[in-house]
Amino acid sequence: MPKQILIVDDEPSIIVALQFLMEQNGYKTIVAFSGEEAMEAIELYHPDLILLDIMLPVVDGFEVCQRVRENPEWTDIRIVMVTALGSEVNVTKGLDLGADAYITKPFSNAELVAKVKELIECRG
């Protein structure tokens, strides 16, 4: 059964690219445009990995990350923060809140795919 990846971003352009990339690499994708949608999707599909943007309307990526990490049933979900917020402070904050990786926009597709593969395979 293919692994599921939840892509959370409010920018449709980047979602198209991410979705294409992930599907090309054999993953199934689910898309959410906001923090709330992301939480519903996690509840429903329990994805293996989340590509999470930080700057989302209302509930932001940090909060989504925190909520996921607070739920013991979701400890196996990998979280990759993919964001334009590139400062040291934000990277640290994201990782401290429980993200497994932090990728700053713009990123190289190869790098992102490699990171996703590494995390999913590591999970087994």
């Binding site: 352009s13 198209v16 334009a84 926009k105 713009p106 190289s108 597709n109």
Partner: protein
């Protein structure tokens, strides 16, 4: 000794005279009776028995005569002399120009004449002494005014306080920073939101106490360790929400103890806003551009990495690249324009009417023998932000060079208004200007006649965000050069007092170092000396005189007295929008027309503000019963209680001058030699009342009334106190 009223004096006089007369008659009768033999006594008794009615009649006539004599003496001698005594006091204590006008016996009138003659001489002497004092004082004032000019022109706010935080000096800038609301008042009649800054007031009504005390607390330690730099800097939010950068420097007594402190304030709000704005601009720049670039890069890498992409998918990625690159471009454009508008407003430039700028350039050009300038009239509402001196020289410099290059002796200006800029063209008859010449000029230092700037034309234009180019004129014989200048918003109008009320000798008002030795305000008001208390002297104008029947306040004016000094600059002058109508009769008196009240604040807003203005002071008014009643009638509606102690100049005047019949504002003012300007304006009358109050203080002291309690009780005892409104 308590002063007696005229009536009491008269009846005492009658009683004393009658008793004396009776005593004389009775003693003579008794002495005569002792001398008489028994037979004589029998004869006298028989005579009295027979002619008693004659004797009784003679007695009554004698008493009546005595009564008339007493009245005559009282009216012609006693009363006038009492009045002379009082008015002599006025002459030598308050108003040397006052002269005694009295009706009475010839001797009394002669006495008054002699006193008036002496008063003439006294006035002359007094004047020459005054002149010498004034001369000496003016030298000191001159030095003070240099200091006050320096203080007034400082871009920083300066506030000096004593150790308790009472303000003893401040400049206008400090007042703006601490009093005015952060945003300029949008509507007419909007009121300040914070506290008031004023001599004798506490600085802590406008800034938070802990932050200032915190800044000052390590001073003793610094002093002990012998440090020279005692100033501490901090950023604080004033009560009007402005963000201020402050430097607190202690003032030390000769014993090196803290006796006060100086606060130097600069507005930090703008700078802070600018930092914040810059920060969010950068944030937003990097975020949006990163987002767009990320989409573009991913799309490009997909296209490159998957050559066998279906045409529709490839097309979708092409559209993403196109859309995101447009969005990145638009972001950059928006940021550039916002950034430019925000950062590129040059600080050293000031808004000036273009008309005035051109006139100044024309006059200057004339003066230095430059080309003649003329042009279309310029609308008043066109403003430019310029450093008029340097840009003016730059314009003349350019025109002179063009003049000598093309032999043009006259230029005509023309204008073109753009959205944010103004095109200022100078036209001449002759060949067009080459850009090369302009470029050369731009590299030269600007110099006109013997005035040279240490800057090139280019630098001056850059400083003004201005541009210069040869403006094409089509197929005419004319040529033109265009200065593109940044248009400016007209500066906010400076609020002028509604009606100027003035005092002949305006002294700088911001000095009062005596306050350093003032104790803090205490509730033991009654024992405090009148001369050392703070007062708010106020007056109101109303829609009519029947306040019980609903007449309302339309204006409230007030000034402060601190340490026996009238602080005219700390005035309160506010129109009030009433619910009802103005009576035409009242309009004739105060000159406030209904249209002046449109958009003014209502009574609740005004009283709230006035309550803050009068905080911690004693209220003083002329015929205070009327004004206090007016305030009290509003209590239920506004919920604002005026529980301040009150003094009434009408009653105090009656206390010091019981022999005078009239105690209205005009009569007292005339008696005390005060000219009230702006009579029947709330502020004018308040200032007049304050001056009267200040002149009454020494007279009260003379009568032994020095403390607040004594003044209050003396006022209560006067006849006028029984009048109720």
């Amino acid at each position: 000794m308590p002063r007696l009223t005229q009536n009491k004096v008269f009846w005492w006089f009658v009683l004393v005279c009658t008793l004396f007369f009776a005593a004389v008659v009775v003693s003579f009768t008794l002495m005569l009776w002792q001398e008489l033999s028994d037979a004589d006594r029998q004869t006298v008794l028989a005579l009295i028995g027979r002619h008693g009615s004659y004797l009784f009649g003679a007695g009554v006539l004698l008493l009546a005569g005595l009564g008339f004599a007493i009245d005559w003496v009282f009216r012609l001698y006693v009363l006038p002399i009492d009045k002379i005594t009082e008015e002599t006091g006025i002459i030598h204590r308050v108003n040397p120009a006052h002269r005694i006008r009295v009706e009475g016996s010839r001797d009394v009138v002669r006495l008054a004449g002699a006193i008036n003659a002496a008063a003439d001489r006294f006035e002359g002497l007094d004047r020459s002494v005054e002149e010498r004092i004034a001369e000496a004082r003016s030298r000191i004032e001159e030095e003070k005014s240099i200091l006050s000019v320096v203080l007034a022109d400082l871009p920083e706010g300066v506030v000096i306080c004593n150790a308790e935080g009472q303000i003893t000096l401040y400049n206008q800038r400090a007042r703006q920073l601490l009093e005015d609301p952060e945003k300029p008042a949008a509507a007419a009649g909007s009121l300040p939101t914070g506290g008031f800054l004023g001599l004798g007031r506490s600085i802590f009504s406008v800034v938070d106490k802990p932050i200032v005390t915190h800044a000052l607390k390590d001073i003793p330690e610094k002093l002990r360790s012998g440090r020279q730099d005692l100033t501490s800097s901090f950023v604080m939010a004033a009560r009007n929400h402005r963000l201020l950068q402050a430097a607190a420097t202690p003032i030390l007594s000769p014993l090196r103890e803290l006796s006060g402190f100086v606060l130097i304030l600069t507005d930090f709000t703008r700078r802070m806003e600018s930092y914040r704005h810059m920060d969010s601009l950068l944030q937003s720049l990097s975020m949006q551009v990163r987002g767009a670039v990320a989409s573009i890069r991913s799309a490009v890498e997909v296209i490159l990495g998957y050559p066998d992409l279906s045409p529709s998918k490839r097309d979708e990625f092409h559209r993403i690249i196109h859309r995101e690159s447009l969005s990145a471009g638009a972001t950059m454009d928006r940021l550039r324009s916002e950034h430019a508008a925000f950062i590129h407003t040059p600080v050293s430039l000031s808004a000036m009417r273009l008309k005035d700028f051109l006139e100044a350039v024309r006059v200057k050009c004339d003066a230095v023998g430059g080309p003649a300038l003329s042009g279309e009239p310029v609308a008043d509402q066109l403003w430019v932000s310029v450093d008029s001196y340097s840009l003016g020289l730059a314009v003349i410099f350019v025109l002179q060079r063009i003049g000598s290059e093309f032999g043009a002796g006259a230029f005509r200006w023309a204008l073109e208004t753009k959205a944010t800029h103004l095109g200022l063209d100078f036209l001449w008859v002759g060949p067009a200007l080459r850009l090369e010449l302009l470029r050369r000029l731009e590299q030269q230092a600007v110099a006109v006649a013997d005035e040279a700037l240490n800057a090139t034309l280019k630098e001056i234009l850059t400083r003004h965000r201005a541009e210069l180019w040869p403006q094409p004129c089509g197929n005419t014989s004319q040529a033109s050069v265009r200065f593109l200048l940044k248009a400016a918003e007209p500066p906010a109008p400076i609020a002028l007092p509604r009606r100027r009320t003035i005092l002949a000798t305006a002294r700088p008002v911001y000095y009062d170092f005596d306050l350093f030795n003032q104790p803090g305000q205490s509730p033991e008001l009654d024992d405090r000396q009148l001369a050392e208390l703070s007062y708010t002297v106020f007056d109101t104008e109303t829609t009519g005189l029947k306040i019980r029947e609903g007449d309302e306040m339309v204006a409230l004016g007030a000034v402060r007295i601190v340490n026996s000094r009238l602080l005219e600059s700390e005035s309160f002058d506010q129109l009030v929008r009433p619910d009802g109508l103005l009576h035409p009769a009242s309009i004739r008196i105060h000159g406030i027309h209904p249209e002046m009240l449109v958009g003014q604040p209502d009574i609740r807003q005004v009283l709230e503000l006035f309550h803050r203005f009068a905080e911690g002071t004693i209220l003083v008014a002329h015929n205070a019963a009327f004004d206090m009643r007016l305030l009290q009638l509003q209590e239920r509606r506004t919920g604002i209680r005026f529980e301040h102690p009150v003094l009434d100049t009408m009653l105090l005047s009656a206390v010091v001058h019981p022999a005078q019949d009239r105690h209205d504002l005009e009569s007292i003012a005339e008696r005390l030699g005060i000219i009230i300007m702006g009579r029947h304006t709330a502020l004018g009358d308040a200032i007049g009342t304050a001056e009267i109050f200040l002149k009454l203080l020494p007279l009260l002291a003379e009568a032994g009334i020095r403390s607040f309690k004594q003044a209050r009780e003396a006022a209560r005892k006067t006849y006028y106190a029984r009048l109720k409104y």
